[in-house]
Symmetry: none
Subunit: 122 residues, 2 copies
DNA sequence: GAGCAATGCTTGGTTTACTTAGCGAAGTGG
DNA sequence: CCACTTCGCTAAGTAAACCAAGCATTGCTC
């Protein structure tokens, strides 16, 4: 696939994923609509990748389909955390640490990366 | 606190978080605007909790502020904060990182603890 | 065949996210 | 005091998310 597949591809992937989850759960668009309080035409459009759903809608859909939001976003490519392969998690832990200020986070990251010989670009 | 505190509280909390991260990073609204490709008035409104930003904007802000997207989404109320409560595992990650030498591990830990104000009692 | 229910989809409009242009306060230097 | 800049913010408009009503097709049962 092209490196710059764009946001459109991600939207389509997200829609396809939601569609597969809904059909596997044997749910109709209107049933999912009732569970999520989202109109069925809009759900239809989301499944075809015509719109980028808001945080509120995304959360509602994930809950209704018994899927974690993380999984959904990862499947959609919106959450790109797959660089955790060669990373034992230290970078992720630092990035996700709410006790650190932005300054401290940058410094700590810089030190860590200098240790492990990583280039500063994520 | 009320269980149905509403989305407004969440929005304000998210805005306050972004604001604190931006100011601690010594960034102006226009600088953050350039890094995120989001207009500075809109960033201002987000910080004051007047709008619910989309996932795209949320992700851009997180990247620009060196905050993990997960943390940002958690603050936005999308993800339930499962791990990032008190100890996000930064210490554990450093301790278990095979790429660090013992010396480096000690240094990194010392820096981290000085940041979060932990006593070196260990 | 006619009727009917249920599915996904289109249409047209309302609400909200988001932008471009510009204002007022708070500096800084001439 | 007067430019000039830079900060956050307001105002007004555009683009996009989202909904209510209804159309088109499929699959019934009579």
């Amino acid at each position: 696939m092209a490196p710059d597949d764009g946001v459109a591809g991600q939207l389509e992937a997200l829609g396809a994923f939601i569609h597969s989850q809904r059909t596997q759960a044997q749910l109709t668009l209107r049933e999912l609509s009732e569970r999520t309080n989202v109109s069925n035409p809009y759900l239809s459009q989301i499944e075809r990748g015509l719109h980028e759903p808001s945080v509120r809608v995304l959360k509602a859909i994930a809950t209704a389909l018994n899927v974690s939001v993380e999984t959904m976003l990862t499947r959609a490519g919106l959450l790109a955390d797959d660089d955790a392969d060669d990373d034992p998690g230290t970078e992720a832990a630092i990035l996700g640490d709410p006790r650190l200020s932005a300054d401290q986070r940058s410094s700590l990251l810089a030190v860590y990366r200098s240790y492990v010989g990583e280039r500063p670009s994520a």
